[in-house]
Symmetry: D2
Subunit: 414 residues, 4 copies
């Protein structure tokens, strides 16, 4: 009966950015309900950025769903332009983007390569997809092919991972929405409507070049104003330094408060090989999230190790280190002065924890990475910098690199 049919209820996710999200493929909801995916609820998208932008407390769970929503939009838009995409390809592309970040460590990029060295989050995502593929009897096989870029129709991978992928289209919009940095707002919908496919590669229609230019500039600004904001840098490096100290103490068999899974990563020297050969480590990894890390740090504030407790209090009470950032490297004189002061006040061992040095870099358009090709009205394809009419985009494609040092405000010598 029509009556009965009409009462079918749609499964819906409410998203503050896109409104109602529903998916055509019920299998996507099975993945979303899986504990490996639910874990993303407990990993903040922007790590400690909320210490500067208090609204930016969103998590990887919402981002992954948002990116999948945009994937659906992109595929339906391409189909309207008569690009043939089968339902299997459509679903697989959605699965791949839904899971593209599932391998993130706690605090996202901040602790990538800290708790677990030499295995990056994309490799971990792939390992977890394979685990799920077993559990779901091969239903993720095509998604994995696409994710690994082994599938001949390259544009499906390019939608997941390129300079104009739905990952970026979602995170720039989302991060800008939550942080309140309205400059980062990207017109994802407009850009998606500008995408086409030529010879199985993703291209942009010529009339989209201003939108792309704007997208690249917005991304560049989000880098400097949010992702690499100097106070964020300071907080994130403090977090890394805390873990470094904790691992040092763990190596010395000091007993530290921590959850069982965090214990595994603190007290074992895991390398790529040990990690990939014994599957129990991946299971422990899948238990880890922001709660384990920050919950431990809170307790470590009163740890007996003075360095560890100093660092943890600085983070929890938000007494962050001062940061200096510069295009040039810092003069050795300044660095020595600070080192000396730290040594005098606290002792030599403290130096490597209280004086944090590093580099940040950002290139707005990366010409070593997959290019953005523009589909000109005359039928030719041009690399984006060639197509852009005037702006010296090549300048955007040179990476900007900056140096920074962080140290407690008490040593401020200005």
């Amino acid at each position: 009966m029509a009556n009965k049919n009409s009462t079918k209820r749609l499964k819906i996710v409410n998203d503050p950015i896109y409104g109602f999200i529903s998916f055509e493929f019920p299998f996507l909801f099975e993945i979303i309900e899986h504990p490996y995916f639910q874990r993303l609820r407990r990993i903040q998208q922007l790590g400690l950025t909320h210490l500067v932008y208090p609204g930016a407390v969103h998590n990887r769970f919402a981002h992954a769903i948002g990116a999948t929503y945009l994937m659906g939009k992109a595929i339906r838009s391409l189909r309207l332009k008569d690009v043939k995409i089968s339902d299997e390809e459509y679903e697989a592309a959605c699965i791949a983007i839904l899971l593209h970040d599932v391998g993130h460590a706690p605090y996202s990029h901040t602790l990538e390569n800290t708790l677990l060295e030499s295995v990056d989050h994309e490799e971990l995502s792939l390992m977890i997809m394979k685990l799920l593929n077993e559990e779901f009897n091969g239903k993720l096989s095509l998604a994995i092919e696409i994710f690994m870029n082994r599938y001949p129709r390259k544009f499906l991978n390019q939608l997941i991972s390129s300079q104009l992928d739905v990952d970026r289209l979602d995170y720039l919009k989302r991060d800008s929405f939550y942080s309140g940095v309205s400059e980062g707002v990207v017109s994802s919908e407009r850009i998606i409507k500008m995408l086409s496919v030529v010879d199985d590669n993703l291209v942009v229609d010529e009339k989209g070049i201003y939108s792309i230019e704007k997208f690249i500039v917005a991304r560049r600004l989000m880098y400097w104003q949010v992702y690499l904001h100097k106070t964020v840098l300071s907080a994130e490096h403090l977090l890394v330094t805390i873990l470094k100290r904790a691992k040092k103490l763990a190596k010395e068999k000091v007993d530290l408060f921590c959850s069982p899974s965090l214990e595994v990563f603190l007290y074992n020297k895991l390398n790529r090989e040990t990690f990939t050969t014994d599957s129990k480590y991946l299971k422990h990894f899948l238990n880890l999230d922001d709660l384990d890390v920050m919950g431990a740090i809170k307790v470590w504030q009163s740890n007996r190790d003075p360095i560890l407790s100093y660092l943890c209090r600085a983070l929890i009470e938000r007494k962050l280190f001062k940061v200096k950032i510069a295009k040039h490297t810092f003069e050795s004189e300044l660095v020595s002065t600070i080192k000396n002061e730290i040594k005098n006040v606290y002792g030599e061992e403290w130096i490597e924890y209280l004086l944090i040095q590093g580099k940040v870099r950002n290139n707005a358009y990366d010409h070593t990475d997959k290019h953005i090709f523009v589909n000109m009205k005359d039928g030719s394809l041009l690399d984006f910098p060639q197509a852009a009419d005037n702006l010296n985009i090549s300048s955007l494609s040179e990476p900007v690199e900056k140096n920074f040092i962080c140290y407690p405000k008490s040593f401020d010598i200005d």
Copy 2:
């Protein structure tokens, strides 16, 4: 070749509310490009409301396209709930909503029944649809059936014209967007997702009752804060009064500056019969828009008739009449006092132009009109006031009626 296909360009309308709008049926663009539809660009959606809310300068053109966009959303959502709707029905419903307002007179409702008595805008819309149907060789026949509510699947008509139609869903959102009265914002998308069809009638899913309640309250507020705002009332009745005076002068063969088509409506006594029997009048009507009316009024500011010029200057210079509004009727004493003053200062003839009286009414939920039925989880259908858990919705369904008088501020006797 895939290459060639992929370069197909979509026809798109940019809407500040919904973003990119594109339609699946190319015929809709043929209608949009027709001069009868283009005319809606020159008819403001909210008449003179912009004198109070300066942003509210949008026109019927954008509203009609927006409502058509929502129709598409509604039909696609119903299809996902397994309501069978053929492509022909889908297209016809879109045509009908696209043209539902094509018969509006200049300044929309303000001058309905002023320039042309006793033919309302819906009847005019129907006449114009029939004209177009001839021109397009019967392509609008099904749309006309639906519009006239002769088509058996009632929900298609209900989507166009009922207490929960896409017309209202668009205009409340649009009017609130442009006026800046954020209270009127209606979650059109959410309500559309809550719609179902039972026995070919439109119903609302039970879980949508709070959204409907909110929708009804929002509509009620838009009435009192925008549509019936007292300064808007004053301006609109001034406009009506100007036309009344101009027609009086025209009847007396006074020569008035006006465009040829406006001349037809000022100088001829048209009634329903003359209008419908001679098609040239409809053609002249289709030449009329806000420009003819306000362009004439501007010139009439220096007309030799002192009443006409007085009224026109009051409107153009925005020296609007004072309005008093009350639940009760105004005491005859007050009214006589003002009449006397007008007579003393200007003379008896002025009274009917300087003292404007009338009533406004609004009922938020109209139980004499098509009801909103709620599809309860147990399968029963309830009229909305029964389904709403607590709010005494019956109170909302009693019309509120208010009386008003307007007169020049110089006669203010408070």
Copy 3:
């Protein structure tokens, strides 16, 4: 030099809702930087609501700052209406609203009265304000007077705590923003402009009555669609039940993984008296936040107590209990059936943990609480329900009460 002055930098908080927030009183930033206030970063505003609305992950920190921003707006607007407010009163009102929620337990209302019985969050806020007042040498004295409603100018307290306070104006807007439930959007700015003061009491200008009506309806809808959403109810009662089980085990001296401060609340029987007499308990309370609770629950998933681990896995993996909600109480038969089934499958001890019963209530306008008075144009003051022209607001002031039961989906007997 002008030059020098002009380079003064403003301290700014970036809020996704209001944009840049800056405060005129530097002391407010001292409070914000204090660890007691920083702790609010780790307490989610809406507890577990994000399990239903994934975007709703905002915390009390941002809410408190947002409410303080609105307080500033309100006071500046009142001053423009010639209400005399001294700078001391202004600052004190800001301090009081900034700290009004500082006493919240982890997961806000969910665990209020669970970890610590019989001391509600407002009393705790007051205790913490007094602690800060000592630390800051009496600078909070006036704020405390206002917060306790001992200060003669009642409107200052009413701005903090009444049916139209800046607390509600912020949280409705914020919760609706983050959850994506656009129906809850409240025009805070408009309402604030409508506030006046008569005889030191807060009133609303007559022309604001539609805005107030809309505000009350929006609040009512947020209650049913978000705060009391049935899946949210289920999750929150599951959390309460977990803590209940953990406390039971703690009483039996079972060793549970937990942070030191959580240990204090699990293993001690604290009542109002013990808590208020020994200040160390308040210090421990100030160490507690969402991390302690959810971090422990994650570990308890593999606890040896089968009830505790069952409950914790249900929460972490989001296998939430089924909820039934009804106006009437549930028939004892249904309840007995479920109890029996639980007993048969798991044993009698499980019943109280797997069958959760309770009531929820909401009244949109509370006529037992501080009334909203409307300042009519004729100078009289009316209680809001009298002033509203038509809507039977009295219906809104009767509380709606609903009953619910939750139990594992495996016992679903529909």
Copy 4:
């Protein structure tokens, strides 16, 4: 009595972008109510852009008020940074920005220099300010000084007219809001908070450089996507061509339907000298608005002159000319071919009306205009391109020039 004071009502303008706008200076409302300013309600901000972006129907009235609102924000922000600004200066800056566009001709820039040659809108604004200054007994004197940049505190003029003035900050935001081109959204509020004053010149704080970069790119994009959109170009040049034909006919004493004030500008050969010496011409100019022009064009659709009626029908029915746009000049061959075709079909006289040629140019950052100086943290001032870290801003400061030709689609020879 406090009671009485508290009922003071604020005069408020509702703006869809900024919400409630109120001004501290009652005199601003006197100007707003003046017929010269009310006229701006009838001049669309973006001329015929609404033919491409249907939402973009906003007028100069709302823009002028919006820019004045931002002026208030800017001045209050500068005062918080201890820049001394007297109330007189504050009010004068507001008056000057409120009136900066009061001299616009119908259809804004489109008809600038068409109806009235060799007097641009800024000069006309100044003439009207002086007229108002007489009427208001010198109350605008300081505003005029500032507007003419004769007042020593240059930053006040720079806020009105420079590369970073509140005029641009409003119109970019407003045009992008109404057109729906979200790429143009500019964070006006953020930029305003970044402004400082050094030696009475407006500067930008160093931390604002990314915002400025984004602002410049957004402006550049708005130019190409909206202001110089090729269909907009086509429509606007068609309008100019219509007026050119009408003036030609008027010169030949052909009788054309038009309002009395339009008649003055069509039938008299006005030059700068005649216009400025006889004040009646300015009065007629102040009667002219979009209604006069478009109202006449509608009637001219059936004018006996075939060229005029052809052009007018093309505009009203939106059968716009095809546009070709290119960096290079068009080959003479193409141009000759089209000319020949026009000649063959319509006759030689038509050529200059059916083949429209021209150039457009845009430079994002104009280094020949007032520079944007950045106030570096070390106290130095740098020109913006020097301060921007990487982007080759110099490329943005080279103007982009493009050529275009328009002709009826029937001559399309692709």
